[in-house]
Each structure stands twice: as C-alpha cells, then as structure tokens.
C-alpha cells in the first residue's frame, strides 16, 4: 500500500486537470468549466468534503470528454490518446474526489492490488473494440471488418459491464466468508 499526503494529492489533482486541459479544444467555455471543476476538487480535498470534490469531478470530466476529440478507438495512436488524455486523469481525479474525506485523520491510502486490477480492467475495457475486431478478422477473414463508432461504444460498454460484474462477483464471494481475524 502507498500513502499519499494531502500536498501530494493536491499536486496530483493539478497535474491530472492540466493533462485534461492540454488535450482539450481550447474554447473559453471548456476552460471555464475545467477551472471551476478543478477548484471544487481542490477545495474538497483541502476541507475534506466529498460532495464538493464529486461535483467538481463531474464538471471536469464532462467538459473534458466533450472537448477531447476521439473519433475512433481502433487505431493505436487514438487508443493511446484516449488513455493518456482522458482515462488516466479521470481515474486519478475520481479516486482523489472519492477519497476526499478519507484523509481527515490519516494520509490517503492506495492499495496496490485493487488499483492494479482496476487499471488492467480499464485497459482491457478500452481495448475491447480493437480486440474484438482482431478476433473477427481471424475467424472470418473474408468478412468486412468495418465497425461504426456506435458499434465500438457498444462493444466497450458490454466489455465494461461484463468485467465489472465478474470482478465484483468474485470479490463478493471472498467477502462473503466474513472470516474476521480475532486478536490475541
């Protein structure tokens, strides 16, 4: 597990917002929305107030997602752009916003194993459309592999939902044991 101090979390939030800004189209509305969102997130972290952070997160994420141009997820370059410009900063901001009240008494904690699993899951979900196309081309080489953006979104959504169910179900079974260790 890794501990993060409040100062480091503020720095991470600023870096993540900057990342989103860099890849966005620079209209005044987008910059304004991102600035307001970033301010709310930072205030939430400073004052340990989760609702403020979550509101800020929603504003930043919505503005950035609308402002970043990602026509397709089938190309490697576009996929990398999607991961670097939107997925990673949004994930970081989501985690920071949710854990705004966690740091009231101690430093915020990141458990390595769940974080790794979640990141792998995110990567697999994002690349589910290219993987699907690859499988289809291998199985039926003569078939046209042209996929519309809507189909891409559908594939990604299905992969995400299935992955979420599988991961949380497996964990539920483990938690269902409820074997709490008793102190000596």
């Amino acid at each position: 597990m890794i501990f993060f101090s409040r100062r480091f979390r503020l720095l991470m939030a600023i870096v993540a917002v900057s990342d989103l800004v860099v890849f966005s189209q620079h209209s005044i509305l987008v910059i304004l929305a991102q600035a307001i969102g970033a301010a709310l997130i930072l205030l939430g972290i400073v004052y340990n107030y989760r609702p403020s952070s979550l509101t800020g997160l929603l504003i930043v994420a919505t503005a950035s997602a609308a402002a970043i141009e990602l026509p397709s997820l089938l190309g490697v370059g576009q996929l990398l752009t999607a991961i670097v410009s939107l997925a990673i900063p949004t994930f970081v901001l989501t985690w920071l916003a949710l854990s705004a009240e966690e740091g009231a008494s101690t430093n915020v904690l990141l458990l390595k194993r769940p974080a790794t699993t979640a990141l792998v899951f995110a990567l697999v979900s994002l690349s589910s459309a290219p993987i699907m196309v690859l499988i289809m081309s291998l199985l039926t080489p003569t078939m046209s592999t042209r996929i519309t953006p809507t189909a891409e979104i559908a594939i990604t959504l299905v992969a995400t939902i299935v992955g979420t169910i599988v991961l949380t179900r497996r964990a539920s079974a483990a938690a269902g044991l409820q074997v709490a260790r008793e102190g000596t």
């Binding site: 949710l98 009240e101 979900s125």
Partner: protein, 453 residues
C-alpha cells in the same frame, strides 16, 4: 470513455473494501469489572479495541449483548474511524435477567467504505463468559440465617473454642507397642502399675456434602422459578448455616452423566467463597419446550412448513439426547442407573475412610431418581446419613393452568410416585422433605429440626 473510467474506479473501490474486510485485525480485550455478577444487578464491562492493521477501520462498533440481559447504563456502541495502532474504549453496564453463564459472543461492526460507496456488517467473534450468580437477596438471606439457624441433623452446634479442637477424649485402653508417648496416661500408671493409652475420637460434627442436581429436568423453567435456581439458593443458604455452626461443608453439582464441579467439605473463612464459586458453574435454567411443542403442534394442523421443521428439529434433538443417555446408562452391569451422584458419593466415602458423612441431595428425582436411590443404598451400607430435599416438579409448574381430568390424573400419578419414592428412601434410612418454590431455607431448616424430615 467516461463509463470505463468510472467503472474501473467502482471496481477499485469494491476490491479495496473487500481487502479491508479480509485483513481486519482487531485486538479486543473485554473486562468484567465485578468479581461476582449477580442476577438483576448491574455488571460493568469495559471493552478495548486495538486496530493492529495499517488501514483505518470505519464504522459503528457495537458489543453484542446476550439475549437474557439488558443494557442499564453506558454506551455499547460507538461510530468512529479507528486509525491504525489506536484504541477504542467502550464502557457499559448490563443487567443479567437470570442466573448462569452469560456469553457475550463478540463485536459487530457496521463497516463503511473509505470512499463512501459500500456498507457491510462484520462480526468478530470474541466470546466472554460471565458467570452470573443468583440474586443478591439470596446472599443476604444466607447471611441473615448464619448463626441464627441450627441444622440439628448434623448433631449439636458448637462454639468456636470447641470447634477448633479436632479430637475429643474418648477413653483409655491398655498400652500397645507403637502408641505415641504423649497419649500414655501417666497419672494412673502408679495406681494400676501398667501403661494405659488415652484414646480420642474426632469431634461429633458431621462432614456435610450438598449435592445439587442440575439435570435437564431441574433446569426446565415452567413458572417464575426454575428448580435449579431454587436449589442453588437453598444449597448456598444451607451451606452458610452449616459453616456458621462450624460444620465442614462442601458442595457438588451433578447431572445425568457426571459430577460437574465440587468443593470438598471444609471449614474456614474461604469455604463459603469456594462454595459460591462452585455454584456459579450450575447451568442456567431454560424455558420449557413443552409449550413450544404444543405451539408447533397447533401450527402443524394449519399445514405451515416452517414450524414443522422446528418441531422436527426439536424432537430429533430430544431423541439424540435420550439415546445418548441410554448409551451411558446401559454401559455397565446396572442399566438405567445414573452415575453422577452415585460416583460422587462413592468417591467421598473412599477418601474419608469410614468417617461419618451427611449427604444432602437437592433433586427433583426425575432423571436422577435411580442415582439418588442408589446413593441412599450406599449411605445405608456404609453408615452415612442422607437427606433428600425433593424439589417437587408439580409445585414448580404454572398454577394458572387449567385443571382438567387428564391433568388431575397426572398430578395424582405424580404424587403417588413421589410417595413411593419417599417410602423407598425412608426405608433406606434417608431423611426426606418435599419442597416447593415458596419454601425458604429457614422453613426447611426448621422443619428438619422439628423432625419432619
């Protein structure tokens, strides 16, 4: 794209919460502040919970109270974040409603996720047993009786100066080689011109052992007072009366199978404490299953499934219990004979090498009838005395029940049985007294003194 990100954040939060639940490492230390807990009296409990894990535990911590007690003061629940290496302290008082071992099973924590998304109830087993003694009033009664009442069946009461001497002069006889020099009667040597030896005998007070029956039938509670609770009160008060009259007293608890605990007969300041300690081990009373069975039978007629399962379970448990008893009873050469009381009496007789004993048996003579009769036979053959205090079963039943013909027949049958047992016991030289829930120790002692036993 955002859906993937939020889904992965959700997955992370969930997996993290599961990990937190699995690696919970709390050290719970529960202390009962009272040395002796009494029924209907508050008992103070303190709980210290140390979080030994580097992850903060968030949620509501609640000590689980047993069924037969109530919270009287303090807080058994606290909602807080318990950081690593820190301690949460709870202090509260509970009032047990009945005598017997009271088990606080553990702690319930309504855990909440650090990211504010999930809740889960977690139970940590950490049982603490509190041996709840009978009501404080019973101790007060024992204290008041001590010194006032005399238990004449044990012989004359003694004052302390005499009681401290172990042997009394019995007579003289001719000297035999091996006699101690200090026992030789030197004064009459010039008159008789031969050595004579003084002989002594032990003081006349009988050693007394009180046997308390804690079998299943004794523990059944059919009215306000359970027989076993009454027996515990009586044994404690009788013991105190005997101790105050300088009679060595001990106490033993037995059930259908064995002697559960005992304090050998002794005198002294701490003997009453020893007796109380042993009596704390007497199992608690339990509600009569007869009523439950009647209820399930009624519901069976309504064709409901769940009560059927309950009654089936209860009857199968009962069958198992009876078959286990049968197995134990038929192992030896003498079938259907309880081994708890009989074995206890034999052991004491063997240890005391012919010294006269008094055995007071408090029993309902339901499951231990054969054992008591066997014990009386042993007492008769070995020259010991036995007093049977019969907690008559029908007098401990609910008096408000309707008296119809079958019930009247049953009562008559029970009384006939009881009279037969009384005759058998008296034939074996044992004293017998039949008591009900209203009979106090004073009344019983007086009845014995007047020769009614």
């Amino acid at each position: 794209m955002l859906s993937v990100t939020f889904a992965s954040a959700y997955v992370y939060a969930y997996l993290r919460f599961v990990t937190e639940l699995q690696r919970t490492n709390l050290q719970i230390e529960r202390n009962v502040l009272e040395d002796i807990s009494f029924s209907q009296e508050p008992t103070s409990v303190t709980v210290e919970i140390l979080n030994k894990d580097p992850i903060t535990v968030r949620g509501t911590f609640e000590d689980i109270l047993p069924e037969d007690c109530e919270l009287s003061a303090g807080m058994k629940r606290s909602t807080m974040d318990l950081p690593p290496k820190s301690i949460l302290r709870l202090a509260y008082s509970l009032v047990p409603n009945k005598r017997g071992p009271l088990v606080i099973p553990g702690m319930r924590i309504a855990r909440s996720d650090s990211l504010g998304l999930f809740d889960e109830e977690q139970t940590i087993e950490h049982p603490t047993v509190i041996n709840v003694h009978t009501e404080k009033g019973s101790f007060d009664a024992a204290r008041m009786m001590a010194g006032k009442e005399h238990f004449e069946i044990s012989g004359m009461g003694r004052n302390p100066a005499v009681a401290l001497r172990e042997f009394e002069f019995n007579g003289i006889r001719e000297y035999a080689p091996g006699d101690r020099a200090r026992d030789i009667h030197w004064r009459i040597f010039p008159k008789l011109n031969k050595l004579m030896t003084k002989t002594y005998r032990r003081e006349g007070s009988l050693q007394t052992m009180v046997f308390v029956d804690s079998s299943r039938s004794m523990r059944l509670k059919r009215s306000k007072v359970a027989k076993v609770d009454h027996a515990v009160d009586l044994s404690m008060q009788l013991s105190n009366v005997l101790i105050s009259s300088y009679y060595p007293v001990g106490v033993a608890i037995f059930d259908e199978v064995k002697v559960l605990a005992k304090a050998p007969p002794a005198l002294g300041r701490h003997q009453f404490e020893n007796i109380v300690q042993v009596l704390r081990e007497v199992p608690s009373s339990m509600e009569d299953s007869e009523r439950m069975t009647v209820r399930t039978e009624e519901t069976e007629s309504n064709k409901t499934l769940e009560p059927e399962q309950t009654s089936l379970k209860a009857s199968s448990e009962g069958k198992e219990f009876l078959s286990a008893l049968d197995r134990i009873a038929t192992k030896g050469m003498r079938p259907a004979l309880g081994i708890g009381l009989e074995g206890g009496i034999k052991e004491i007789i063997a240890k005391n090498r012919g010294r006269e004993q008094l055995y007071i048996v408090i029993s309902d003579l339901v499951s231990s009838r054969d054992a008591v009769i066997a014990g009386a036979k042993i007492c008769k053959s070995s020259g010991n005395k036995m007093l049977v205090i019969h907690t008559y079963d029908d007098w401990y039943r609910n008096a408000e029940a309707l008296l119809d013909m079958p019930e009247a027949e049953r009562l008559y049958g029970d009384l006939s049985d009881s009279l037969r047992i009384e005759a058998t016991l008296r034939g074996l030289g044992a004293s017998y007294i039949r008591i009900g829930p209203a009979d106090t120790s004073s009344r019983i002692v007086r009845a014995i003194r007047r020769g009614k036993a």
